[in-house]
Symmetry: C2
Subunit: 363 residues, 2 copies
């Protein structure tokens, strides 16, 4: 029976890069490598324009029902002044929350062919391979109470609540430790336990879990400010970093930028086992909707393509097909084929569909 994939291309360059992924899915389906039934829906500003909300209930239901979701990007200046409750981002956050995608995996990987593109010195980033495991359904993103109120003295007050429970911390730490097992067996757990009690609980629970179940893993605790520094100073000291929703937002973007090629970075957001070994999951490139170049056929589709590769790997266990796709990406890079964002002297400049062509050829 075919697996159901829901594609939510979103805003800005989302649809363009997604077009290239769809070509690859068709190619793989046609060759019997995969058997995916693809449907499509709207999210973000483009959903708002049609439905008046950044994610329609029917789309939400389809996402709940899908075997995996592939998302492009959301947001753009057109929708910047919308009310908080219908901003494009809220569509994305609703997906994360209702699908319970608590584990966000954000690899920060430097491709050898692109290491020069980093703003950091070559020796600092060459060979970099960090996995950031970000908690995605808790913390200040969703904590109650929240909102803007007017105080008795006439001032306004904006309030959000940072909150974590034992089980939320334990399940994300398990993901990090399990991943570390297959990698360098080293986990940095990041919080501000010196300032925030939620961070102190985080530190204590992660340590307890390590001692009880993951004796082989080297665990270090690090304050978030220090982590931001260490990522810049010497990123290769890290293997797996596990952290909360808000710190993960900043630190994963910082780590992504170290690579110098944001247009290359995929991510996976994974839920709990909902029975029968099935986990809900959503895959999306780390880059945003890039409104400045949207619609011009310039965007780099590789991050979205590599997100699809993560889907093959994590949702469907199709390691061979995923490897094949990853290798094709390497080949194309080695051939010197580049979109504008990763362009280098002497390389061949192509657009979004040109990159898709090259990739299909490499496959």
């Amino acid at each position: 029976m075919s697996k159901k994939i829901l594609i939510l291309a979103g805003d800005g360059i989302g649809p363009e890069v997604m077009t290239e992924v769809k070509r690859i899915i068709s190619w793989m389906n046609a060759r019997g490598l995969t058997d995916f039934a693809v449907s499509e829906g709207l999210v973000g500003g483009s959903a708002y324009d049609v439905h008046g909300v950044p994610l329609a209930d029917e789309t939400m239901a389809e996402a709940m029902d899908a075997d995996a979701v592939l998302l492009g990007a959301v947001g753009g200046p057109k929708w910047d002044s919308l009310d908080f409750s219908v901003k494009p981002e809220r569509g994305l956050l609703r997906l994360r929350k209702e699908m319970e995608l608590f584990a966000n995996l954000r690899p920060a990987l430097v491709f050898d062919a692109l290491a020069e593109a980093s703003s950091l010195k070559l020796d600092i980033v060459k060979g970099l391979d960090i996995m950031i495991v970000r908690e995605l359904t808790g913390g200040v993103y969703f904590g109650q109470p929240r909102g803007i109120t007017t105080l008795e003295n006439g001032e306004r007050q904006g309030l959000n609540t940072q909150v974590y429970t034992t089980s939320e911390i334990v399940r994300i730490a398990e993901v990090a430790f399990d991943l570390a097992y297959k990698r360098g067996k080293k986990v940095h757990s990041v919080e501000k336990a010196n300032v925030m009690e939620s961070g102190l609980l985080w530190r204590e629970e992660v340590q307890k879990l390590r001692d009880a179940k993951y004796g082989d893993i080297a665990l270090e605790h690090m304050y978030a400010d220090n982590c931001a520094m260490q990522l810049v100073r010497n990123p290769k000291q890290f293997d797996v970093i596990v952290t909360d929703n808000l710190f993960g937002d900043l630190l994963s973007d910082c780590a992504a930028m170290l690579t110098g090629s944001l247009g290359m970075l995929p991510s996976a957001s994974i839920g709990a086992d909902i029975g029968g070994g099935k986990r809900r999951a959503m895959y999306e490139p780390v880059h945003g909707s890039a409104p400045d170049i949207a619609g011009q056929g310039k965007a780099n589709p590789l991050a979205c393509i590599l997100s699809y590769s993560m889907m093959l790997r994590y949702s469907f266990g199709m390691l061979d097909v995923a490897d094949m796709l990853d290798n094709a990406v390497q080949d194309v890079l080695n051939q010197g084929i580049r979109t504008g964002d990763i362009m280098q002297a002497g390389a061949t400049l192509v657009g979004t569909s040109g990159m898709g062509d090259a990739l299909l050829k490499a496959l």
Copy 2:
């Protein structure tokens, strides 16, 4: 009448680097350049060891009474397992809160002589000069309710509250705009208005203030995750960054590390006018207590010395004396005199007191 300076050397390398500042203060007093009455107190772990609290009430009272406070650094592994309420950091946080030091100024400056030390490529950081204005007495650092509780289901829950009011936002934004006037007239205001209502209020209030009072200043709003990226990608796009307590903690450390010479960076924390043009203020190096090298006479005293220079400038308006000190630091760097943290091939390695000697000679 002499001005009262309270020195709180703190833990780790704090006392060592402070020794060099005291030599400079004596030198300046002896020459009639300044007229400072210096007293000293304990803060952090060293205060805990004596008083059982990281800041004694008498020391707090002295700080309230001082014309300016100079702090070294707090914390270290020795006190890591202390209860949250008496951790070394709480001494520092108490000073900030009771002195109402709401404005933390953190320059990220690349000294020409040290630009090579950055992990970033030379052209990305050479000439970098960013001023980060961090809100220091609000937000999740101090918001109530907070704490760790046990829920009915037996799980533990850690909670903190991120909260800002109009007046808190306006007064820190004013500091940023006023500083921008004397610099590049450009302010980036940083929050997560797409996710947090406290950030949305921040954005709205900063924009209102700009439109009402600072028409000459170019204001841009930026999400904190994007700011973390942009600092790595192209830090020279920034002039003044204004942000909240927690984002400021991470982003200022990230920016500091871009310079490659943390041992060089001072900071100032400044309060409101408490009458007669007097503002409470505390100055401290950005680096921490560096327990790994404490007591070895290796630490770089320049960040603490430059913090004292900021004191001369911001608390006492002694611009000439401050310039004299800053120039002496430049001279010493140009002479190729270096502590271990900023050592370069061909330079002369000195220890903490050797750097102090060189500086006094340059003065």
